[in-house]
């Protein structure tokens, strides 16, 4: 049962090995102390602890893309509901989408962040098997996106900033999701979030899985926790299409260049939020504290921006995204006669 035992990632083996050794030494230390002998082993323990910290730093400072995916999916990794406890002072959940049902894959409600009142939106994956099943592993249905949209409208109406946590493998691919208009509701969400007149801060806290992530992901700031990814397609999906087998996911992960560092380099994400040494799953509190200072700093910055400017800047933020080459070849044809003389110059 993976939900009860600790998940161990293959590349973390040296860390667990050293932790085991440290544990043994600490047991020995306790025994020795009982008979009055402490000096020598105490020094060894201190040294090993330093080595362990260095080892975690070393391994985690150079994770490859596939290892990053594994960490972002780690079963002990803090999820939206963990952060709701650790980051916010109060959370008043609001469930209704007024149409179909309560999608547990998206949590919404009112919250206090220090002295600030906010509207919170976030994917929830679930911790144990029952919860995961109820949450569809963080894959939202149209009702989840509709719920989020309703709460965001409320936020705009009463001047509350919006915080959105992204952690999903993707929007749910199922029959009922299609029947209830998965494509349509994601499209509406993108359009409405782009226009909404209140600050929005989004953070990828785990997996940023394509349209399902973007569906609650349009905002004024995008942060990514250090060991997360944000991608147009899952590495498995990409591998099965382009490399004809999902076992090539590590190859696809590398090719897709989707880690927080890649996205910072591409100018897609605004900031990388550091994780505790050895990943957020090793220290929920420290991860939460880093997350909290990111949120506070950005919300305070955005609070002073007039709403018209805020929406205009958000427009520009997305407007400039794209990688293409604009040759002058067509510009040379500018003297081509224009239709009935009314056409504006477009280029």
């Amino acid at each position: 049962m993976p939900s009860f035992s600790e998940q161990r990632l293959p590349f973390e083996a040296p860390i667990y090995e050293m932790e085991l050794r440290l544990g043994e030494m600490e047991t020995q230390y306790a025994k020795n102390r009982a008979v009055g002998d402490t000096s020598k082993i105490g020094e060894q323990i201190r040294r090993l602890r330093r080595e362990l910290a260095a080892l975690k730093r070393e391994i985690y400072s150079q994770l490859d893309s596939w290892q990053t995916v594994q960490v972002s999916r780690h079963q002990q990794r803090p999820q939206t509901r963990d952060y709701l406890d650790l980051v916010f002072e109060q959370f008043l959940e609001l469930h209704g989408d007024r149409a179909i049902g309560d999608d547990k894959a998206i949590v919404t409600g009112l919250a206090h962040l220090d002295d600030m009142k906010v509207m919170f939106i976030g994917h929830q994956k679930g911790k144990n098997l029952a919860e995961r099943t109820a949450c569809h592993f963080g894959c939202a249905h149209p009702e989840g996106y509709r719920k989020a949209l309703l709460k965001m409208r409320f936020a705009a109406k009463f001047g509350l900033p919006i915080i959105s946590f992204i952690d999903t493998p993707g929007a749910y691919p199922g029959i009922s999701a299609e029947e209830r208009g998965q494509a349509a509701i994601i499209a509406e969400s993108l359009m409405e979030m782009s226009q909404i007149r209140t600050p929005i801060v989004c953070v990828v806290i785990g997996e940023g899985g394509s349209g399902g992530a973007l569906g609650i992901g349009i905002g004024d700031r995008l942060g990514m926790l250090e060991h997360t990814y944000y991608s147009v397609i899952s590495p498995e999906g990409c591998a099965s299409i382009l490399w004809k087998g999902s076992e090539h996911a590590p190859k696809a992960a590398a090719a897709l260049k989707f880690t927080s560092r890649d996205l910072l380099r591409f100018g897609i994400t605004d900031e990388i939020i550091p994780e505790p040494s050895g990943g957020a799953h090793r220290d929920h509190r420290e991860a939460a504290s880093n997350l909290k200072s990111f949120l506070l700093r950005n919300l305070r910055e955005l609070k002073g921006v007039p709403l018209d400017d805020l929406v205009d800047r958000r427009y520009e933020k997305y407007r400039k995204i794209g990688a293409f080459v604009e040759s002058i070849a067509a510009a040379e044809l500018l003297d081509e006669p224009q239709l009935n003389g009314k056409a504006e110059t477009m280029v």
Partner: protein
């Protein structure tokens, strides 16, 4: 500004046709299995005269069918895809793009420009699912966004015909995903300014294209029996492990569930669009 029309349009059309469709006097209908006289199908807007099956048409053919003759003016054809990820899946992305350009006669999966439809001036966009599945690379996103912005500035009606097998241009990674955001943001401003957007869904309209501009029309119409949806049928089958219902994710399914306004036969599309625009005009 590049103008594609008249002879250049026809020769381009002829060129791509030659490369794409295996020549033959006869063809078999995918809809009713009837053996059809190819020329007759071509003259019938590529619709089966027996069962009304709509065969795929290229972006250029579509322009010829929908817009007033020789009125289409192509914009931004000078935009070319870059390779921000230096993507290489057994074949470098730039090579793949080049091969697609040669195969299709298009420089990317979208064409945008302006034209007239029954004398009404419109901004027009189209994605061609023949070019890397009609997926949304940066060029597609940029062209459509510029088209939306032009329609906003010039207060013109906007018509976009979508066809896309998936939406995700994997080779452009996150840049591809963010084109959904970019176009939707531009359409948000267009809607706020009171613009009229008619979205025409053709077979297939899936994934990120369906989950962005294609679903954001003030009016949404679809050709009969087009495949339209978010997740691909195979992905859904693998996830839920049940057989998908008959007609799942077709235009008729979407109409039934309230996500489109009308199903329109290809022969009526031009007059339907003109009529819809007329209703929205002062």
């Amino acid at each position: 500004m590049a103008k594609i029309g008249g002879d250049s349009l026809n020769s381009w059309h002829g060129h791509s046709e030659l490369k794409r469709v295996p020549e033959g006097v006869w063809m078999r209908c995918d809809g009713c299995s009837a053996t059809l006289f190819r020329k007759q199908v071509d003259q019938n807007d590529k619709v089966c005269p027996e069962c009304n099956h709509h065969f795929p048409v290229t972006a250029v053919e579509r322009i010829n069918q929908l817009l007033d003759q020789d009125t289409y003016e192509d914009w931004f054809s000078n935009l070319q895809p870059a390779d921000p990820l230096q993507f290489d899946d057994r074949r470098p992305y730039p090579e793949r793009v080049k091969a697609e350009q040669e195969r299709t006669g298009l420089n990317e999966a979208a064409l945008v420009g302006q034209g007239f439809i029954k004398g009404i001036r419109i901004v027009f966009g189209i994605t061609d699912s023949n070019f890397i599945m009609g997926s949304m690379g940066s060029v597609v996103g940029e062209k459509l966004t510029r088209a939306v912005e032009a329609a906003t500035r010039q207060k013109l009606p906007l018509v976009i015909v979508s066809g896309s097998g998936g939406g995700a241009r994997m080779h452009e990674g996150i840049f591809s995903l963010m084109q959904m955001a970019k176009i939707s943001t531009a359409l948000g401003r267009y809607r706020r300014e009171g613009g009229l957007f008619i979205s025409v869904l053709t077979h297939p309209t899936m994934g990120g294209v369906a989950a962005s501009f294609a679903s954001l029309g003030d009016i949404i119409v679809a050709e009969p029996k087009a495949l339209v949806g978010f997740a691909g049928p195979r992905v859904i089958e693998q996830t839920v492990r049940v057989q998908l219902p008959q007609g799942f994710q077709t235009s008729e399914f979407l109409l039934e569930h309230g996500f489109i306004d009308r199903i329109v036969h290809r022969r009526d599309l031009r007059s339907m669009i003109a009529q819809l625009i007329d209703y929205a005009m002062p």
